[in-house]
């Protein structure tokens, strides 16, 4: 029997009927198996797996009805048509055959034309079934693979975007996604200088497409917060990145909260999220913080605005944020949960230390179903707990800040082609920020580096006179000359920068900046006197040196005035606020 030949099992106790049927089937090209009772039919079926069964109803040992039920069970997903051979006429008996799993009837006397028509009709159904079955297997296989890939993607995603897994005492959040991937993110981290950054984001759409944008957002948030960047810098960077990577129609509604634990205030930037609430114990909602900005990822960098609103945050205050999935949660009657309902829950429980559980209960009562149409995020910041734990955190930071490189020198020699095109400040700043004990000094160190470098380049190497910058016209020609002289730079020009770090005690150290340039120097003794005596009208220029002197422990010119050395001192027992 060739593999593509369709095989038929005849189960009939009537030998002469079987003979006739076998002859008819052989003429049509079918392979034929025969059984003269139900039991034999069953054993031949399980061994030979025929494609079609022609079944007599009344047979000794096991009748056709029972044999059919068992054959259908054995066939499982495979479609095996069972055609009853019958001269039964009563409707009741025919119905029994169908109930047992029969698919059709063939009445005696057999007719070749009818037999051929029936078998070919079932052959088409059977082929269709084989195809459907194969496709079903393929889809199952595909689905299995997809789920597996999704599982891996989810792990990667969770590692990059530890949304809501920040371990900060005093922040409670409800994050409930309608798909495996969540378009809502909650991020929070301590700032190196003390204080906390918290961000809630809600990307357009749901599931994986919405979640993708959360990865860069989260990397930027954590990376920059840890390095001591400000809310403004972080938001500008996130906006720039999202604008670049997201399609025009996608954006991220977000709220950025900068908690200043020293001044007991919060700086809030809200771009497209529902009003945040400040709840004061005993008073209820005392402030609603409206969205005053466009969401992230829409505006170009030059139009982006990171200005914040500042609010007092007392011990006992609660600060609550919501994604619009909360406001727009629908109940079975099609009503929205709404901002008013949240507010009234908060007011009702104004004497509790936390309203979180009350709001969550109210949301669950309201929806009354597991069906969710949007990602839902609700975050409560509890001022007293945050303020309490920040002290513990700072103690831990003392120890952590002393890690990283402690005793080192870094130097860079810049020659003409570098001086023309290269800005060395980011590299230095990056290296300095690898030292945890310096992270909270970021903006001061940046100021010192940038002032020293522009002095070395502009006044030293290029020999520009800062007096030029006293009035607006001179200011313009100063920069024109700067450009010209840079282009004509001679081959011996250089700026040599070295930074050395030394520990001066258990919790303190010195950073020694030394800048040497190829310029001819100047009579620094007279200049310093002038600066110290504040006798000059400095106008647009000269702000640099006094600024450095105010930040640094020592400031001195060496050599011919072409070398400057600045010592900056840090001490962990001071809390620096930027």
């Amino acid at each position: 029997m060739s593999s593509d030949q369709v095989s038929v099992l005849i189960a009939d106790d009537n030998a002469s009927d079987r003979m006739i049927l076998r002859a008819l089937l052989a003429r049509e090209g079918y392979a034929v198996y025969e059984a003269d009772d139900g039991e034999k039919a069953l054993s031949i079926f399980s061994e030979e797996k025929p494609d079609v069964v022609l079944m007599d109803a009344l047979m000794p040992n096991m009748d056709g009805l029972e044999a059919t039920t068992r054959i259908k069970a054995l066939a499982g997903d495979r479609f095996v048509p069972v055609i009853f051979l019958t001269s039964l006429q009563e409707a009741g008996a025919l119905a029994e055959c169908i109930e047992a799993g029969g698919d059709d009837f063939l009445t005696k006397p057999y007719n070749q034309t009818i037999l051929r028509a029936k078998l070919s009709a079932f052959e088409r159904v059977r082929q269709l079934n084989v195809t459907v079955h194969e496709q079903k297997n393929k889809i199952e296989e595909f689905n299995k693979r997809l789920l597996h890939e999704q599982d891996i993607a989810k792990q990667v995603f969770d590692n990059i975007t530890p949304s809501g897994r920040h371990n900060i005492e005093g922040i409670k959040q409800l994050i409930s996604s309608m798909a495996i991937f969540n378009g809502d993110v909650v991020l929070a981290d301590y700032k190196p200088s003390g204080g906390i950054h918290v961000m809630v984001g809600d990307f357009t759409g749901h599931g994986l497409p919405a979640a993708l944008g959360a990865m860069p957002l989260s990397e930027i948030f954590y990376g920059m917060t840890r390095k001591g960047f400000s809310l403004q810098d972080i938001l500008a960077e996130i906006n720039k990145r999202l604008k670049r990577i997201l399609p025009v129609s996608n954006f991220c509604c977000a709220m950025f909260v900068d908690i200043d634990t020293v001044a007991h205030q919060v700086n809030v930037w809200n771009g497209g999220l529902p009003d945040a609430l400040i709840i004061r114990k005993g008073l209820g909602v005392i402030a609603k913080i409206k969205s005053t900005h466009l969401p992230l990822g829409i505006l170009s960098s030059d139009r982006f605005n990171a200005s914040v609103d500042t609010y007092e945050l007392r011990k006992g205050d609660l600060f609550c944020m919501f994604s619009d999935g909360v406001i727009e949660m629908e109940n079975q009657q099609g009503e929205f949960f709404g901002a008013d309902r949240i507010e009234s829950v908060c007011n009702e429980h104004k004497d509790l230390p936390s309203v979180f559980d009350k709001v969550v209960d109210e949301l669950a009562d309201f929806s009354g179903t597991d069906q969710q149409t949007d990602d839902i995020t609700f975050v409560e910041l509890r001022a007293d707990t945050l303020l309490e734990h920040i002290e513990l955190f700072q103690d831990k930071q003392q120890i952590k800040r002393l890690s990283g490189p402690r005793d080192w020198t870094l130097s860079l020699d810049l020659r003409p082609e570098s001086l023309k095109h290269f800005d060395p400040l980011p590299i230095f700043l990056h290296v300095l920020m690898e030292c945890p004990y310096l992270q909270s000094h970021r903006s001061r160190l940046y100021t010192i580096l940038s002032e020293l470098y522009s002095n070395a380049l502009e006044h030293g190497v290029l020999g520009l006179d800062s007096n030029l910058k006293k009035d607006p016209a001179g200011f313009a020609s100063y920069y024109q000359m700067r450009q010209q002289r840079l282009e004509d730079l001679d081959t011996h020009a250089y700026v040599n920068i070295s930074i050395e770090h030394r520990l001066t005690g258990d919790n303190e150290g010195d950073l020694i900046f030394r800048f040497e340039d190829s310029g001819k120097g100047f009579d620094y003794a007279s200049k310093l006197v002038a600066v110290d005596g504040k006798s000059q009208n400095l106008g647009y220029c000269g702000r640099g040196i006094p600024l450095i002197r105010s930040l640094a422990r020592t400031f001195e010119y060496l050599g011919a005035g072409n070398i400057v050395q600045v010592i900056y001192h840090w001490n962990l027992s001071q809390t620096e606020i930027e």
Partner: protein
């Protein structure tokens, strides 16, 4: 009404080719056995055995073109089902009579 449908038998001969003789022998030996069952089941008043044998003969005789024999078997099947033994006893006689005619005609065709 003739005992055999001649058109149908001609077709059957064509289909069965050389096996036609075997088919006739098989039908005859099966039917002989069934007639024995008719009589023994009447003796034991076993309506179910009678019904099954009549049902079998109904089918096999229709397939071989013995239309009247098939019709009589069908009547016998009904009588057995209704346990009308007094009707069955007459029908069995009719079936036996018709079978003799059919057998003779078939053996002639072999």
């Amino acid at each position: 009404m003739a005992s055999l449908n001649t058109d149908m038998l001609a077709e059957l001969k064509d289909i069965m080719e050389d096996d036609f003789a075997i088919l006739v022998d098989t039908f005859v030996s099966d039917t002989d056995k069934r007639i024995d069952v008719f009589e023994s089941s009447m003796d034991m008043a076993d309506a179910d055995a009678l019904r099954k044998a009549a049902h079998g003969l109904k089918g096999s005789s229709s397939n071989i073109g013995a239309e009247r024999l098939s019709k009589l078997s069908a009547d016998l099947e009904v009588a057995a089902k209704e346990m009308a033994f007094h009707i069955a006893i007459d029908l069995i006689e009719d079936v036996k009579q018709e079978y003799h005619l059919v057998r003779a005609a078939l053996l002639e065709l072999k």
